[in-house]
Every structure is written in structure tokens, then in C-alpha cells.
């Protein structure tokens, strides 16, 4: 199903907010293009990096200042690569890329550590402490943080939309289409009553119109506001689940 237009779209589909910052984007480019981190072809990287930023501007998304700062740094390195290189006291020739390489390596190491930490957390979450006291986990746990729903809704919508599009399940808007948010809310509640929990994508069983997609998302937000449902991600890399909020807990 990956026809040519899809492949061309692919590069635009990688959005900046997928990245934690300009260093993350650079690491992505380095990995994607199988670049040796100690010998970065700076011209190629500058072009790719700026290409990404331009894509963002086309989509009318504001590019964060830190990306522009990195673009400036890359341009400076590129310029210095063209100039005669000053010799250091030690007789070695200074590589203008050194500062960038150091930054990338340090960042990559911490990325690795954060993955390792996340793995440790997942392991630990499978160990349940002896909980003879009803308040040992649920009450003193993180109940109050649930309300914050530290969820990235943009990613939620984006992933679902991309997936539906990929599977050709988005159909053009129907003239005179009548979408009722209240009806979508009822649908979500009914779905959850039956299944217990749902992924956002599951709320679209067949084909859907853009209008329907938006209405379902608004309905979900409405339900969250009413505290009828909550949205949670088990881990930074996990599925995003929608749960029905129990009316009374521990029945």
C-alpha cells in the first residue's frame, strides 16, 4: 500500500514535536542517514536540518527558538569548515565540529540512560509490595496526580489520524453531514462500559469523515472535563488508554 506519494509524504510526516529538541532531531538524522557521529558531513546535515525547519514553516507551525539556534550553530560550523583551520598549541588541527560532536555524544548518553531508567521502572512496576493496608498504594499513590492527565493530546490525535489515513479509512466530508457531539459522547461511554478501556483509534470502527474524527475528539475532551473518563499512558512508550472513571471506587 506504500505507493510513491506516500513515500514522498513520509519526510513531511516526521514532525518536529516528535523530537525532544534540536539535538534529538540531529541524532535522528544521523541514525537515519547512517552517519558516523565522529565524521559528520556538515553540509548534508545542515541541508537536512534546515529542510525540516522549512517543512514546519510550510505547515505554519512556529519553530521553537532552540531549533533556530542550532541551525545557526550548524551554519557557523559549515562556514568554519571552509576556512583554513587554526592549529592548536598541541600541533593538532582543531575540528570545528568538535563542540557539536561533544554535545551530541553527551545527549545520546543521557538518552540511553533514560531508556535504561524506563526499563527499570517497568520492571519495578511488576513487583507489588505487600499491601495489607488499603491505603498503602491507592491512597498514598498518585491519585491526586491523575487529575493532571499529563498527556500529550497532540500526539494522541496525530497518531490516530495518521493511522486512519494510512489505512485509507478517512473518507471525504459528506455534504449535509450531521454530527452530534452528544451522540459521540454516548458512543464513547457505551464503548467503555462494554470494553472497560479503549484506545482512541478504537473509537473509529469503520471509515470516518474528518468531521466525525474532530467531533469524537471534542466529545472525548468533553467527557474528560466532566470527569467521566480519564486518559492515561502506562509508560512514555506505551499505548494511550481511555478509561471510564468509576463512580464509586472499591465497590
Amino acid at each position: 500500500m506504500a505507493d510513491k506519494t506516500n513515500i514522498a509524504d513520509d519526510r513531511c510526516r516526521v514532525h518536529l514535536d516528535v523530537f525532544e529538541g534540536p539535538l534529538d532531531l540531529l541524532l535522528y538524522l544521523i541514525k537515519r542517514d547512517e552517519i558516523d557521529i565522529y565524521d559528520i558531513p556538515i553540509t548534508h546535515v545542515v541541508d537536512e536540518f534546515i529542510g525540516f525547519l522549512e517543512n514546519m514553516e510550510e505547515l505554519d507551525l512556529s519553530v521553537a527558538g532552540e531549533y533556530l539556534l542550532m541551525a545557526a550553530l550548524l551554519m557557523r560550523i559549515k562556514a568554519r569548515m571552509l576556512l583554513p583551520k587554526p592549529e592548536l598549541d598541541t600541533g593538532e588541527i582543531e575540528d570545528p565540529r568538535q563542540e557539536l560532536v561533544d554535545m551530541l555524544i553527551e545527549y545520546r548518553m543521557f538518552k540511553k540512560i533514560s531508556e535504561e531508567l524506563n526499563r527499570k521502572r517497568e520492571e519495578q512496576s511488576k513487583l507489588f509490595p505487600k499491601g495489607s493496608f488499603p491505603d498503602s498504594r491507592i491512597a498514598t499513590g498518585y491519585a491526586e496526580q491523575e487529575e493532571l492527565i499529563p498527556m500529550d493530546y497532540y500526539t494522541l490525535v496525530r497518531t490516530a489520524w495518521d493511522l486512519l489515513k494510512q489505512e485509507n479509512r478517512i473518507i471525504p466530508a459528506v455534504a449535509g453531514e450531521d454530527v452530534d457531539i452528544g451522540e459521540r459522547m454516548e458512543f464513547i461511554v457505551g464503548f467503555l462500559a462494554e470494553k472497560g478501556r479503549a484506545r482512541f483509534i478504537e473509537l473509529f470502527p469503520g471509515k470516518t469523515t474528518p468531521m466525525m474524527f474532530v467531533a469524537t475528539f471534542v466529545a472525548l475532551l468533553e467527557l474528560i472535563k466532566e470527569r467521566a473518563v480519564r486518559v492515561q499512558q502506562q509508560s512514555a512508550f506505551g499505548n494511550i488508554w481511555i478509561y471510564r472513571n468509576p463512580e464509586e471506587r472499591g465497590e
Binding site: G21, P22, F110, S114, L117, Q233
Partner: protein, 209 residues
């Protein structure tokens, strides 16, 4: 009733405590000689559980002992709880947390610099989740807050102390193969001037004359 032993007392204390029991506490109540003895007793207990096919072990977390069910039973025990009991952690939060954990106490500018991105939001969320805390202010311009990890962090990540965290040096070693390869490549790309090359060059020049 069976004979009361030190091992028995340690087991009883850990069993009855609503939360982790510190080694010092065990040492005092059970009149142990050292915290090492507490460690040894816990080890014996765990061996007994294993031999008898019990589904729990005593684990030392954030400096205290606590009973935990075995990993394999997680899907079943998890059914008891309405939620995972864990706050959501984004990549940004995990990155900021790793930096703070390894460099603690440290400041937001340090985290920002390593991540190459502003870290106000993840740091704020980490503070709210109780995984980090403010340890004071650095005596540098702007007097930025100093952040450090909490016991809650150790508990969530299954650590006894921050000494168990992966070390930067160990990780550098992970990448060292790559560094070695890079060095070799660099040498191939820029070979050192050796005598042979120079001789050839001289001969070449002579023949031209």
C-alpha cells in the same frame, strides 16, 4: 509456638510494617550486630522462600526492606488495582530525570544545555510527581535552584540508592567500540606521512627534473 530467632524477628518486622523498614531499624529491634547482618538474614529468608516455591521476596528499596510479589504474578496482582499507581512520564521527563539523577544536585541550565532544549515543563512535572526536590540554590549568578532525586524516585525505579544508577563511564564504554572504529577510519582517511610516501615523492620530483 516455634522458637523465636533473630531471623524470625526480622521476617516479622518486615512482614508487619506498612512500608519499607530500614536496616538500622531492624538492627536495633532485633539486636543485630550490624546492618550487614540484616542483609544476610534477608538473603537467607529469600533463599527459604525460593526453596519453598513462595511467590514473594524481600527486596531492599530506597534503603528499606519490603515484601514484593514476583514479576510473573504481575498480570494477576495488577487486576486488584484500579490504576497502575504510576504517574505518566514523558520522554522529556525521563531525560531531565536521568540528567538530574546522575549530576545531582544540579540546575535547570545544566539540564537545558545537555538536552539542547528548554526543560521548564519536564522539571515542573517531575517536582509535582515527587521524583525530584529542590535542594537549595546554587551560588552563581541568578542563584538557580539545585535539584536532586527523592526516595520516591528510588522506589519507582527499583533502586536501593543512587549508587545503583548506570554510570556515565560505563555507558561511555558501551560506545567505545564505535569510537575505536572512528579513530581507525580517521587514520585511514588521513594517513600519517610515512617515510615511504616521502621517498616516492622525492623520486617523483627527481624524475620530473
Amino acid at each position: 509456638m516455634s522458637k523465636i530467632t533473630k531471623t524470625g524477628i526480622v521476617e516479622a518486622l518486615i512482614f508487619a510494617s506498612p512500608g519499607p523498614v530500614g536496616a538500622k531499624r531492624l538492627m536495633n529491634i532485633a539486636s543485630l550486630e550490624s546492618t550487614d547482618e540484616a542483609d544476610r538474614i534477608v538473603e537467607t529468608l529469600n533463599e527459604t522462600y525460593e526453596k519453598n516455591g513462595r511467590v514473594f521476596r524481600i527486596k531492599r528499596l530506597a534503603g528499606g526492606y519490603q515484601f514484593f510479589t514476583l514479576t510473573g504474578y504481575a498480570p494477576f496482582v495488577g487486576e486488584l488495582f484500579t490504576d497502575s499507581g504510576q504517574p505518566h512520564l514523558t520522554h522529556a521527563m525521563l531525560e531531565a530525570l536521568s540528567i538530574i539523577a546522575l549530576r545531582q544536585p544540579t540546575t535547570k541550565p545544566v539540564v537545558d544545555k545537555i538536552r539542547g532544549a528548554d526543560s521548564s515543563a519536564p522539571i515542573h512535572s517531575l517536582l509535582e510527581a515527587g521524583l525530584i526536590t529542590i535542594k537549595g540554590r546554587q551560588k552563581t549568578p541568578g542563584r538557580p535552584f539545585l535539584y536532586a532525586t527523592t526516595d520516591e524516585f528510588l522506589k519507582m525505579f527499583g533502586l536501593d540508592s543512587i549508587a545503583e544508577l548506570p554510570k556515565e563511564d560505563d555507558l561511555a564504554e558501551l560506545f567505545s567500540d564505535e569510537l575505536q572504529k572512528a579513530k581507525e577510519d580517521a587514520e585511514k582517511a588521513y594517513p600519517k606521512k610515512n617515510e615511504e610516501n616521502e621517498k616516492q615523492l622525492e623520486q617523483h620530483e627527481q624524475s620530473e627534473q
